[in-house]
């Protein structure tokens, strides 16, 4: 446990000193502000574009925005947040192989599973802080501008998207063990996400896929029920535990 705490602390120090924690903070804060801001600015934007659109034969009558518009923006931006998170995090372990920094730690007796779990905790912490910061800012501004009481399951919807991020973290860990460069890890994780999106065109398969979690915005309007997400949640938890367990076993055998 002491090794895990020490190495996790080192991970956070690294995230802080190389500026990645600040970068994540700024990006997620911007996303948080952007969601209600875009909703708020939509009528004004449409007004500005009205002349151009009418020339093209489209008539803008009136645009009404409400709390749901802000949350719709939140769910539209979620895949972009996940993409940025994967791009910035995929070299977390492979960078150590390439620089050779892990050798000293392993030859000091640091358990290999500790390395992997500490990396996982660092990613999880970053994702948790960034994502819930974005959620908090969106929630606060939305509540300030509009009445949110008509919406349901705001927290649960956000938690489902958060779970999608956790699945990606577990995949980053697994592929970091199997592959040797950050680019390869990023390619594998995003490739798998793309496959999940492609499989979603099969109606019966869609609700079992982790990408289904990103449609949790439907909970807020009442178009979907929490139970609709149960298969995707179970599959996502299964993928997460399997990936971490497989990563832990394979890392013990990896030549470093």
């Amino acid at each position: 446990m002491r090794q895990l705490i020490a190495f996790t602390k080192k991970e956070y120090l690294e995230l802080w000193r190389n500026g990645r924690l600040t970068l994540f903070g700024i990006l997620f804060l911007l996303f948080g502000i952007m969601n209600p801001a875009l909703a708020k600015l939509t009528p004004w934007l449409m007004e500005q574009m009205a002349d151009t659109l009418s020339e093209q034969g489209m008539q803008i009558t009136s645009v009404t925005v409400d709390a749901m518009s802000s949350w719709a923006q939140f769910y539209k931006n979620a895949p972009m947040e996940l993409l940025i998170f994967v791009v910035l995090s995929s070299g977390i372990l492979t960078g150590e192989y390439q620089k050779g920094t892990l050798i000293h730690m392993l030859t000091k007796g640091l358990g290999r599973h500790t390395v992997l779990w500490a990396k996982g905790l660092a990613l999880l912490g970053t994702w948790t802080l960034g994502y819930w910061l974005c959620f908090g800012v969106t929630c606060a501004y939305t509540a300030y501008f509009w009445d949110q009481s008509v919406l349901t399951h705001i927290g649960l919807g956000a938690a489902l998207v958060y779970l999608a991020g956790v699945v990606l973290i577990s995949l980053i860990l697994l592929f970091s063990v199997v592959l040797s460069t950050g680019t390869a890890v990023m390619g594998a994780v995003l490739g798998l996400a793309a496959v999940s999106y492609l499989l979603a065109v099969i109606p019966k398969a869609a609700e079992y896929l982790p990408t289904y979690l990103l449609s949790a915005g439907g909970l807020l309007s009442g178009a979907m029920e929490p139970s609709d997400f149960l298969p995707a949640v179970l599959v996502s938890l299964g993928i997460t535990f399997t990936s971490v367990a497989a990563g832990t076993v394979l890392f013990r055998k990896k030549t470093i």
């Binding site: 090794q3 050779g100 920094t101 050798i103 007796g109 030549t255």
Partner: protein, 311 residues
């Protein structure tokens, strides 16, 4: 007691056999020079001792405990210094040693004291800047500090001087010599003068097997071709003196070499020089060197092909 024992160890990468039935033992509190050409298998052997490579056949024990691939139990007794140590560049030396201490499981109350002591030993006690700005020599010294942090019973140094300038090399060798009382050092290199300077025992690895081993003195004694050398100031003197001696070789027009001749013959030659009124530029007794023995052994075994770049 032997701190390290390798028994019939073999290792191949694909079809390439790197280590073949290697057996060696290293007694406590010695400096063991592990020499060999590039690609002879030195680094592979070290990485097997550290549990970073699998062992195909045979066993390795550290202080009586078997080394397991991917395991960390024996590594708690080992300090490791690679040729070019890499650290977390955003940390200061103190922070890095603190992290290593925590990983090693040292008691919290001794961490600070021990870190300060080691930074002082390697001359980095006043360095508060981040490792990012360190020179190669400074990194190597920090490498020694981290390797000694847990009071290891065995210190593995893999070509620690190969990337250093002459001053850096001298300082590092002094440092290693100074810690000999605390630990056993295995020191791999292809720079033979370094090994000769500090090692008590030497093992020469060639094509993955131990071609020679023994104390430095024992190995030197194996080489019989002692001799002395006279360098003249001009060709005329060299010609004249060569005409007086029938047993001299002439590797250079200004140099005469008297093979297998000792001090007595050298004194006689000096008297002759004096009688002839010749003042040489240099007269030197040639001690048998490890290098000559190394080359002799490598050449004797040259029937084998080299193992490539695998260190």
């Amino acid at each position: 007691m032997n701190i390290l024992e390798l028994s019939h160890v073999s290792k191949a990468f694909g079809s390439r056999q790197i280590i073949r039935d290697l057996s060696l033992s290293v007694p406590e509190h010695t400096i063991y020079g592990f020499i060999g050409q590039n690609g002879a298998g030195k680094t592979t052997t070290m990485k097997m001792i550290l549990g970073l490579y699998t062992i195909d056949h045979g066993t390795i024990t550290v202080n009586g405990e078997p080394v397991k691939y991917g395991g960390n139990a024996t590594n708690r007794m080992i300090g490791y210094l690679p040729d070019v140590p890499e650290f977390y560049s955003y940390m200061t030396p103190s922070e890095y040693l603190f992290l290593c201490s925590e990983v090693t499981g040292m008691e919290k109350k001794v961490i600070r004291e021990r870190s300060e002591e080691l930074l002082c030993l390697v001359g980095l006690e006043k360095e508060n800047k981040r490792i990012r700005g360190f020179s190669r020599g400074m990194k190597q010294r920090l490498g020694v500090a981290q390797a000694l942090l847990n009071n290891p019973k065995l210190l593995l140094c893999d070509e620690p001087t190969s990337a250093l300038d002459p001053l850096g090399r001298r300082d590092l060798l002094k440092l290693l010599q100074s810690v000999k009382e605390r630990t056993t050092i295995i020191f791999s290199t292809h720079i033979l003068s370094d090994v000769e300077r500090i090692s008590d025992e030497i093992g020469l690895i060639k094509d993955g097997t131990l071609a020679l081993s023994g104390t430095t003195e024992e190995l030197r004694a194996l080489r019989k071709s002692d001799g002395f050398e006279i360098e003249f100031r001009n060709n005329t003197d060299a010609e004249r003196f060569a005409g007086l001696c029938d047993n001299a070789k002439r590797p250079d027009c200004l140099v005469l070499f008297f093979e297998n001749q000792g001090e007595r013959e050298m004194k006689r030659a000096m008297e002759q020089l004096s009688q002839q009124g010749i003042v040489p530029r240099r007269i030197e007794l040639r001690e048998p060197t490890l290098e000559s023995l190394f080359i002799e052994t490598i050449e004797k075994k040259s029937g084998h092909t080299d193992g490539g770049e695998q260190g």
